[in-house]
Amino acid sequence: MKHSLISNINYVYKESIKKYPRVKWFLLINFFTEILVPLSAIFTTTLLVYSFTHDVDIPIYIVLILGLSVLTYVLESLRFWSYLRYSFENTFTRNSTFLIRLAEHQVTTDYINIEASDRRKVITKAFEAIETTYRGIEMLLKQTPLVCINLVGLLIFSVLLAIYVPFILLILVVMTLINYFLTKRANNYLANMKSRLNDEFYEMYYLSKDSTNPNYGKDIRLYGLQKWFDELFVKLTKNRRNVVKKIEKRFMSANVSNTIFLFVRDLIGYSVLLGLVINQKIDLTTFIFLTGIIAGFSMWLNGFTSSFNYLRSSNVCVNDYRKCISVDSEYNKEGTSTKYLTYPLTVEFKNVTFSYPESAQPTIENLSFTIQSGEKIALVGDNGAGKTTIIKLLCGLYKPEAGTIHINGVDINKFNIQDYMSLLSVVFQDSEPLSLTIENIISCCKPEDVDYDKMWKSITEAGLKDKVMSLELKEKTFITQMFDESGVRLSGGEIQKLMLARSLYKNAKLLILDEPTAALDPIAEEQLYIKYKQLVKDCTSIFISHRLSSTKFCDRILFLDKGKITEQGTHQELMRSNKQYYEIFNLQAKYYKEGDECEKN
C-alpha cells in the first residue's frame, strides 16, 4: 500500500514533534529567516545605491547601515541556530524513534516475516530508510521545510518580477519548464540506477568488513585469499566507476543545459533591464534591485527543483519503511491463557504440512505424531529431513500450511503467541548470545526483575559456576567487548553451557535441545547426558542429535526421512526392526565396537 507524500510527511513530522516539541519553533523561525536573509542582502545593496543617487545625509546613512547590520546579524544568527537545532533533531528522530520502531517490529513480528527471503528484501529497504542522513526518513524531514521555503521565496520573487518586468518572468517560467524536463530524465535515470548503486556499495562494504574481521583471518591467511580479495576490490571499483559514469553523464548534460539556461536568462534579463533604465522607465536603484531579484529567483528555483527531487526519492524510501512494519503479525493477538494447562504437557501433530516459501516441495507433509505427557523423545534423521522444521513449527515460529498442532489437546493457534512461547525452552545449534552481561543473557529480563537464586542454580547446573566465579565482575561481566572494555570471549563449549543455563533458568515445561553437545569434549558430553535425565524429569522433551548414542536416554525415538516419520519406538524396538535407524546406529557404533572386539581378541 503506497502512502501519499503528504501522508508520509505527516507521519515523520508527527514523531519528530512528539519527541521534541521545540522542533516546531525551530522550523518556524528557520522558515522566516531563510526567506528574509537573501532579501535583506539585496535590500542592503539597493539601499546603498539609493543613498548615493539620492544624496542621503551622512549621519542618516550611518544609522541606516547600522540598523541593517544589526538586523542581518540577528537574522543570520537565528537562521543558523534554528537550522542546526532542527537538523540535529532530525537525526535523533531517525536514529531513535524510527530505529527503535523498526527494531520493535523486527523482534516482535512473526518469525516467518523476518526469515522469508522476499521479506528480507523488504526489511533491507526499511533499514536503508533509517541508516543515513542522506536518504529516507531524515531526508524527508530535511527537504520538506526546504521545499516550502524555496517555494515561498520563488513566489515572492515572482511577484516582484511581475510587478516590474512581467516579460522577464514569462521567459524565466518557460526556461524553467524546459530545464525541468531535461533534468527529469537525469533524475529518473538516477532513481532506476539507485538500487544498482546501492548493491555496488554493499558489495564493497561487505568486502571491507570481511577483510578486516579477525574471525576470518585464519582462513584468509591459510588459503591465500588475499589475492582473491584484492582482485575483488579492483573489480568492484571498476563496476562502481562504470555505474557512476553512466549516472554522471546524464547529470552533466542536465547541468550543461542549466548553465545555458543561465546564459539565456542573463542575456534577456540584462537587455530588457538596460533598455528600461536607459529609457528612464526605471531608475538605477531599481535596476540594481531587479538584477539582484533575477539572480535570486534562479537560486530559489534551483533550490526548489533539487529539494523536490530529493523529496520524491525519500518518499519512496519512507514508503518502503512503512510497508515493512505494517505487515500483519500475531504478537498482540488475544488468546486463551496458558495458565490452566496441566503439566507435564502432551504434544500432538495432526496431519501437518509445511513448505518453505522458496521451495516447490513441502519439507514435511501430512505428518502426525504424539508425544505423551512427560515423554522424552529423540528426533533423528539426515540433514534436511525436517527435524529443525518440526521444532520451529512446535515453537510457533512457523505456521503449518495444513493440519494442526496441539498442546494438551488445545490447538496452539488459540494461544497468545507470547504466552505460548513461555511454555518452551529451546537450545538451538546455532545459538549465539547477545553481547550483553551474563545475567542479561541467562535471565533474559531487565536487571531489576532477575531472580538471583534461580540464576545461580542454573549456572551451577549447566557447569559454568567455576568459570563465572573466576571473572572479576562475575555475572555482570559482558560477553565480548562490544559494550564494555572488560568484556570476555567465551569458548564454544562455554557458550553452549551458557545457552543451557538460560534454558534452565526459564524452567519451561517443554524442553527442546538441538545438538547440545556438538562442541563438548567426551567428558563434558557424558556429564551432560547424566544431567539431562535429571533436568527433564518433570518435562516433556525433544532431543535432536546426530550422536545416536544420546538417544538412549529417550523414551521413544522418531526417525524422520524426507519429511515423514518412517520409524518410531524405543531404541531396542528400532534396533530389532532392522531398518534405517538400525543401519545408521551401527554406522556410528561400529567404530566403537571394533575396538572392543579387538580387545576381546
Binding site: F52, Y202, W228, L232, V244, L284, D521
Partner: protein, 618 residues
C-alpha cells in the same frame, strides 16, 4: 584521547603527505579539483567586474550598444566557465570513486599482511576502527579535498582576485574637496580602517574555530564508540538468526530497553554539542558583521565624497564581502584540516603497523618426505598469564595420520595454530625436515597446509570461487573435490551449479546451505588446495551419521599419502589414525596407538569409555 595540537609547519607536512597519497591513487583527481578551485573562485569576480562596468556605463549614459558589449563579455565568459565547471564536476565524480575504494583496499591489504596474532589483538581492533573512521569519517578523502583543501585554495585565490579589484579603492583621486574627511578618506593610509575590520573578523573566527575543534574531537571519539554499538544493534535486528532466540526467550523488553538506554546516552551530549555550535557561530557572524559594517561605512563615505563611482561602490562592497568570506573560510577550513589530519593520522598509523613474523631463504622442500618436529614448544597467548602449551615435544613422520584429543581448552587448536604459523611459539622451535620453520620462505610456508578449522568461514561468493579460493579456479578440479566430499549432487541441483552464490548477503540471490553442507564445502576447499599437510579440526561436528561415515570411509582416499592431523571429540575418528596424542592442560599426557591407549587407565581410555559405553550397552 585528545586532539593533538599540530603546528602549522607539521600540518603542512602532513597535508603534503596526504596529497601525495591521493595523487598516487589518482593524479587526474588532483588536477581536476585544483582546476575546479581556481575556476570557482574566479567566477563571482567576473560578475563583479563587469557589473561595475555596466553600472558605471548607465550612470555615465553610454549608448546601449556599448554597454551591451560588457553584457556579452560577461555572459560569454560565464557560459564558458560554467560549462568547463560542469565537465570538471563530472570528471571529479568519476575519479573520486577510485579514491574512496582505494583507501579501503589499502586497509584490507595491510590487515592481510599483518601477523594473525597482531590482528586478533584488541588494541589493533581499536586502531582499525579509528583508521576506518579516519578515512570515512566526515566525508572521507573526498571531503578532505573538496571541502577542506579546495576551500582553502579557493579562498586564497579569492583573496588575490579581490585584492586586485580592491586596489582601486586605495588610489588617490583628483578631487576638489579639501575637507578633513575627504583628505583622510583620500589617503592610501585609510586602508588601515578596513584592515582593522579584517583583523577583528579574523581574530573572532580564529577563536571560534579553536573552540570548535576541541569539541569536535571529543565528539569524534564518542562517535566512533557510538557508531560501533549502533551497528551492533542494527545487526541484531537485521539478522533473523537472533530472532528465534529473542522470541522464544522473550528478550524483546530487555533488548529494546538496552537500545533506548543507549540512544538516550548518545543524544544528550550531541544535543549539547549542537547548542554549543550555534553559540560559537553567533560569535563568528558577529565578527563578520563588524567587518561589513566598517566596510559599508568606509566605502559609502568615499562615494559620498565623490572619490569613487556608484559602480565602484557595488563592486567594492561585493569584493570586500567575498574577501572577508574567504578569510573566514581559510580559518574554518584550516581548523577542519587540523581535525582531518588528526583523523588521518590514525589511518596512517594503522598502515604503518609492522609484521613481526620472519621468513627465511630456504625455498625448496621435499614434499614427499615431510617430517614435523615440535622441539620443546611452550606458548602463552599475548595478554594472558597462563601458558597454553608447556614443553611440547612431538615428532610427526611423513605421511602419518595423527589424532589430537583432549578436553575443551586443553590446547589442541593452539598447537595447530602454532604449526600453521598463525602464532609464533614463546619458547622452542618447530622443525620441518630438520630445518626450522622460520627458515623457509613465505611461499613455501603458504603452500604447506590445508586446514579446516572448527570456526571456518566461507564467503558469500560462488561455490567455485570458495572452493578454489580465488577467481581463476579450475572447474574440473572443483567438481572432483565436491564429489570426494559427497557434495556434488546437491551442488549439481543448484540453479547455477558451481557458479551458484552461497548465503544471502550479496546482491544475487544466494542459496542458503546448512551447517553440514558448509562443513563439506570447507573440506572441499582444503582438498582443492592439495597441500602436503592436511589439518582437520572437528570436521564432522555438524554432519549427520551417514555423511560422517562417508568422510571416515573415504578418509584414506581424501588424504592419501599426505600427513594428516585430526582434532576431534568424536573418539571413533581416532581409529583411522596411526597415532594419537592426548593433550591435557597444555601438555602431552599420553601418546600412542588406539589399541594401546585404550587399555591404559589414562585420560584417553576415560574419554573413550565415556562415549563408547552408550553405543555398547545392549
Amino acid at each position: 584521547m585528545s586532539v593533538k595540537k599540530i603546528s602549522l609547519k607539521e600540518n603542512i607536512k602532513k597535508t603534503i603527505h596526504v596529497i601525495k597519497v591521493i595523487s598516487g591513487v589518482s593524479k587526474k583527481y588532483i588536477f581536476v579539483f585544483i582546476f575546479q578551485s581556481i575556476l570557482s573562485s574566479l567566477f563571482p569576480y567576473i560578475a563583479i567586474f563587469f557589473t561595475y562596468l555596466i553600472i558605471d556605463g548607465v550612470v555615465n549614459t553610454l549608448p546601449k550598444a556599448d554597454i551591451m558589449i560588457y553584457v556579452y563579455w560577461l555572459i560569454a565568459i560565464s557560459l564558458f566557465i560554467g560549462i568547463v565547471r560542469n565537465m570538471l564536476s563530472y570528471l571529479n565524480q568519476v575519479y573520486s570513486v577510485e579514491l574512496n575504494y582505494n583507501l579501503d583496499s589499502k586497509i584490507a591489504s595491510k590487515t592481510f599482511e599483518l601477523d594473525y596474532a597482531i590482528v586478533e589483538d584488541n588494541n589493533t581492533m581499536k586502531l582499525l576502527e579509528m583508521a576506518e573512521e579516519g578515512c570515512h569519517g566526515n566525508g572521507g578523502l573526498k571531503a578532505y579535498c573538496e571541502y577542506v583543501l579546495s576551500g582553502i585554495l579557493t579562498s586564497i585565490f579569492s583573496i588575490i582576485y579581490g585584492g586586485v579589484l580592491l586596489v582601486g579603492l586605495f588610489l588617490v583621486k583628483d578631487t576638489n574637496d579639501t575637507s578633513f574627511m575627504a583628505r583622510i578618506l583620500n589617503s592610501p593610509f585609510s586602508i588601515v580602517i578596513l584592515l582593522i575590520g579584517l583583523i577583528i573578523s579574523f581574530l573572532v573566527s580564529r577563536y571560534v574555530m579553536k573552540k570548535n575543534n576541541e569539541k569536535s574531537f571529543e565528539v569524534m571519539m564518542f562517535n566512533i564508540d557510538g557508531n560501533r554499538k549502533y551497528a551492533y544493534f542494527n545487526q541484531i535486528c537485521n539478522n533473523y538468526k537472533f530472532g528465534k532466540d529473542i522470541r522464544l526467550f522473550h528478550m524483546q523488553d530487555m533488548f529494546l530497553n538496552r537500545m533506548k538506554e543507549f540512544r538516550e546516552n548518545v543524544e544528550i551530549p550531541w544535543r549539547e554539542y549542537s547548542i554549543y555550535n550555534t553559540k560559537m557561530m553567533a560569535i563568528s557572524i558577529l565578527g563578520n558583521k563588524a567587518l561589513s559594517f566598517i566596510a559599508y561605512i568606509y566605502v559609502g563615505l568615499k562615494a559620498m565624497y565623490g572619490l569613487i563611482s556608484v559602480g565602484n561602490v557595488v563592486a567594492y562592497v561585493a569584493s570586500i564581502a567575498l574577501v572577508s568570506q574567504a578569510v573566514n573560510m581559510i580559518m574554518e577550513r584550516y581548523s577542519k584540516l587540523h581535525l582531518f589530519n588528526n583523523y588521518l593520522d590514525h589511518y596512517f598509523t594503522y598502515l604503518n603497523l609492522k609484521s613481526k613474523k620472519e621468513y627465511g631463504t630456504v625455498d625448496t622442500i621435499d614434499l614427499e618426505n615431510l617430517s614435523i618436529t615440535f622441539k620443546n614448544i611452550s606458548f602463552k597467548y599475548p595478554n594472558q598469564k597462563e601458558y597454553a602449551l608447556k614443553h611440547i615435544n612431538l615428532e610427526i613422520k611423513s605421511g602419518a595420520k595423527l589424532a589430537i584429543v583432549g578436553l575443551n581448552g586443553a590446547g589442541k587448536t593452539t598447537l595447530i595454530k602454532l604449526l600453521c604459523r598463525l602464532y609464533e611459539p614463546s619458547e622452542g622451535e618447530i622443525l620441518l625436515n630438520d630445518i626450522s620453520l622460520k627458515s623457509y620462505t613465505k611461499d613455501v610456508c603458504d603452500n604447506l597446509f590445508s586446514v579446516v578449522f572448527q570456526d571456518f568461514k566461507l564467503f558469500s561468493y560462488s561455490i567455485k570461487d570458495n572452493v578454489s579460493s580465488g577467481l581463476d579456479g579450475d572447474s574440473d578440479k572443483v567438481i572432483e573435490t565436491l564429489k570426494k566430499t559427497g557434495l556434488y549432487e546437491r551442488v549439481h541441483n543448484m540453479p547455477k551449479q558451481i557458479d551458484t552464490v552461497i548465503y544471502q548477503r550479496s546482491k544475487e540471490n544466494g542459496v542458503e546451505i546448512s551447517g553440514g553442507e558448509a562443513q563439506k564445502l570447507a573440506i572441499s576447499r582444503a582438498l582443492y588446495k592439495d597441500s602436503p599437510i592436511v589439518i582437520l579440526d572437528e570436521p564432522t561436528a555438524a554432519l549427520d551419521p551417514k555423511s560422517e561415515s562417508e568422510i571416515y570411509e573415504h578418509f584414506s582416499a581424501l588424504v592419501d599419502k599426505k600427513t594428516a592431523i585430526f582434532i576431534s571429540h568424536r573418539m571413533s575418528s581416532c581409529k583411522f589414525c596411526d597415532e594419537i596424542i592426548v593433550i591435557d592442560n597444555g601438555e602431552i599426557v599420553e601418546q600412542g596407538h588406539h589399541n594401546i591407549l585404550v587399555k591404559d587407565a589414562g585420560l584417553y581410555s576415560q574419554m573413550w569409555s565415556a562415549q563408547a559405553k552408550y553405543y555398547l550397552e545392549s
